[in-house]
Amino acid sequence: MQRSPDRRRCDSLSPARALKSGLAIAALCVIPCVSIADAIDMRPGVTELSQRIQQIHHMSFWVCVVVGIVVFGAMFYTMFAHSRSRNPEPADFSENTQIEIIWTVIPVLILVGMAIPATSALRDIENNEDSDLTIVVTGSQWKWHYRYLDAPISFYSLMATPQEQVQNLQPKGEFYLLDVDNPLVLPTNKKVRFLVTSDDVIHSWWVPDLAVKQDAIPGFINEAWARVPVTGVFRGQCAELCGLDHAYMPVVVDVRPEDEFDAWIEEQRLAAELAGEAAVAARAKTWTMDELLPIGEEVFVTHCATCHERDGEGQGAKYPALNRGVITTGPIEGHIDQVMNGKAGTEMQAWAPQLSDLEIAAVITYERNSWDNALGDIVQPLTIYEAR
């Protein structure tokens, strides 16, 4: 869908550009029609396969249109010409073997004609060999996790659209619901293989412009691939109903030139090292309540508030209230265990692999000292580190 606007650059004013402007104005009259055609067509996408798929869509669409014109044309004609007022005496025929054979055989031939290009495209879609780069895509409620098998890089990707926009308290942005904190970064012109799986329920990783839609199924590793010839940002969404926030787990892929991609990999490597050092520093320090609460609130809003609600009141029995909750006001060990290891068989997931020591310590501190909860407990990152 949205290719970044930075690809279109106009640097200087020239006669050629003036001519272009003139043409553009003339084209304005045509644009409504063109944009309507775009709005109702399958998106062509940017890969060779996505464009071939669009052609298959066009082929089958026009076959249907032609058959439709013939069949509906015949129906409208007969309704017009053979109404009782025009044709008071009905004919008396009810069998014709010859014509029945004809209208059985002709559809078979049309279908064979459609199956040939579809089969050939399908063989290419399913050819996952000779990839240059492999990425493990893992779905969980309700975020994606990406792991680069060829570099020590992995991260979660969460929707970045703020709740205020969802609740209509703020105007909605251009990429409403289609924006993430950490997009998947890919190089151009490389065959990228995706290994898709899930941690909990079935999700489906879909980027329309890359024509990749692959179900993420727990216990299975599915394969798909794409080779993107252009740079740009491409957006999609989870396509399989996966629970409460199914609408809120977008996929964003940022395709960069190869050298920029390599630089990004290097950057991520450095950032991972820095994060490791920061974690060591966080463990060494004794944090105060005032330092932890704002960090904890941010983590809570990003990760916890979708189910437990911002005011900590939860949503019925399925998403229990944290305000005056059994666990959030109970023994601290139980609270730490619940947050780090999750609760089996529910949507409460294990946060230990997803959040840093500091973040877990801060969010537990926040939960025990917010709303009506005032236990005064402070959880230190070191405690979390030792609990891992």
Binding site: M42, M114, L122, E174, K213
Partner: protein, 531 residues
């Protein structure tokens, strides 16, 4: 009863008489009426749920119902429409019409018939009561994929499982009854190849039901043991297989799709010849095409699962098999057109609905053919394109088919003609609204809008607004339908015994309204009679 009226307890006794009449009836016409009333009521409940969803989808953002409720409404809309509106409507029509059409005095197993109906209200009471339970109603879509419905399902999932079991028992018993009736109670001289097409399509549908409802029962039983008895059929962590769930579900689910359309084919095949005043074209090929569709429905279930990581060979097999369905379906459509061809047509409301059925079902068939092509399905799958597709086959297909049947046979049932002017208004507004609601969904799907979401990005806003407005209008038109039906039942111009001048068939030889007991002495069918 007259004696009781004199004792002064009339209202209470009349109520008991009324209740026991309908609770204990074994008469096929009364049971047919019960099925149709239940289906009508559930149609409105599930329709109201659809309109709730369209209110939320009117604009991007969360306005009226939050995701928690949306998923529950979405699930119940699907389940109630499939199992509560469409299937009981067809069973009700079968109950009323099959004995009348084959010259039988009643269904072969009248007490079983009573039992299979009276299971249903309780099944839906159990299912709908889950809305008021702690943790909410089922929220995993009508396809209830594991593990969302097993490990992660709300506590009310067990009530859902019980409800589905009851519906399954009802369907299986109903199907057995229909088969036994058709095999044993045809009037002398009515050979199989003289049966009306509606009877034929139901005969085949009943076999589909007997074959797939037990599969559904097995599926939900496996869910139950996964949830409570420590098995791991669908739980990957215990060595189970979530994809196997989909194979089992769709082995039921695809024939189920044809269960919901084949009787509609039969209805169109009754109505079109009547109003074209010409015999059905290609009777034999219609029967064979129905049987072919039924057979093919068992070997195409994989086309619901093209993105689950199926091997190439399986994808090719399911693609070719699915495309093949277009051939017998095409034969049926061509035969209907050929029936109209050089006929002498009038366009009363049943005919309008039947023609609307054929045309709009064909549009749904076209998008079905497009969906069969695996490469394109990668882009269509789980988007609004699919939503548009199956609503085109179900709404102007199954539901318009049922409405055509109601307009066609209602004068026979209650002895009064419906209001033709209102019927035509109903048809044209419903047709306009159906297309306004579902046609734009093709476009939102192609643009990339996933299905089953309460909130969407800005690019899909315009078409969603159109769909929402269309759906509310569509809901209103069905209120008009309810009014027309009630008005007709209460009074109106008396219908003749034949009702329609071009109608052929045994059901038109009995008086209008059809007395409670018909064909006590079987009619005799000569060589050249009826079909």
């Amino acid at each position: 009863m007259v004696a009781h009226v004199e004792t002064g307890h009339a209202p209470r006794n009349r109520f008991i008489a009324f209740a026991s009449r309908w609770l204990l009836t074994t008469n096929h016409k009364e049971i047919g009426t019960l099925y149709l009333c239940l289906s009508f009521g559930l149609f409105f409940i599930a329709g109201a749920m659809a309109m709730m969803m369209r209110i939320e989808l009117f604009e991007p953002g969360i306005q009226v119902i939050d995701p928690l409720i949306y998923n529950q409404v979405l699930t119940l809309h699907g389940l109630v429409m499939v199992f509560g509106a469409v299937m009981p409507a067809f069973v009700g029509l079968a109950n009323w019409m099959i004995p009348l059409m084959i010259g039988a005095p009643d269904m072969a197993l009248p007490r079983l018939n009573n039992f299979s109906f009276w299971i249903l209200p309780f099944a839906f009471l159990i299912l709908l009561s889950s809305l008021f339970m702690e943790g909410g109603a089922p929220n995993f879509g009508w396809t209830f994929y594991a593990p969302l419905s097993t490990t992660y399902g709300p506590p009310s999932t067990d009530f859902f499982i019980l409800g589905v079991h009851l519906m399954g028992i009802s369907s299986i018993l109903g199907a057995i009854n229909i088969i036994v009736t058709i095999v044993n109670l045809r009037a002398p001289g009515m050979t199989y190849m003289k049966m009306p097409l509606f009877v034929w399509t139901w005969f085949i549908t009943a076999f589909l039901l007997i074959m797939v409802m037990p599969v559904l029962a097995g599926c939900v039983t496996m869910m139950l043991t996964d949830r409570h008895f420590g098995t791991s059929f669908f739980e990957a962590a215990g060595g189970g297989d979530p994809v196997m769930f989909q194979h089992i579900f769709w082995f039921f689910g695809h024939p189920e799709v044809y269960i919901m359309i084949l009787p509609g084919f039969g209805i169109a095949s009754q109505i079109i010849p009547t109003f074209a005043r010409k015999k059905l074209f290609g009777y034999h090929s219609m029967v064979y095409a129905t049987a072919a569709i039924a057979f093919l429905s068992f070997i195409v279930w994989g086309h619901h699962m093209f993105t689950t990581g199926m091997p190439l060979f399986a994808e090719l097999f399911f693609m070719y098999a699915t495309m093949l369905i277009a051939v017998p379906t095409g034969v049926k459509v061509f035969n209907w057109v050929a029936t109209m061809w050089r006929g002498s047509m009038t366009f009363e409301t049943p005919m309008l609905f039947a023609i609307g059925f054929v045309m709009m079902f064909t549009i749904g068939g076209f998008s079905g053919l497009m969906l069969a092509l695996v490469p394109a399905d990668v882009q269509y799958h789980d988007t609004y394109f699919v939503v548009a597709h199956f609503h085109y086959v179900l709404y102007p297909g199954a539901i318009f088919g049922t409405m055509a049947a109601v307009y066609y046979w209602l004068p026979k049932w209650c002895g009064n003609m419906y209001d033709e002017r209102l019927g035509k208004i109903h048809f044209w507004t419903a047709t306009f609204a159906v297309n306004l609601t579902f046609f734009p969904m093709h476009f939102t799907g192609l643009a990339g809008m996933p299905r089953r979401i309460p909130d969407y990005s800005m690019q899909f806003a315009d078409f969603n607004m159109v769909s929402s407005v269309g759906s509310w209008l569509l809901g209103l038109t069905q209120v008009l339908f309810l009014y027309i039906v009630i008005k007709t039942v209460r009074g109106g111009e008396k219908a003749t015994d034949e009702v329609w001048e071009g109608a052929e068939g045994l059901e038109w030889t009995v008086p209008s309204p059809a007395p409670l007991h018909t064909f006590d002495t079987p009619p005799v069918i000569g060589d050249g009679d009826h079909r």
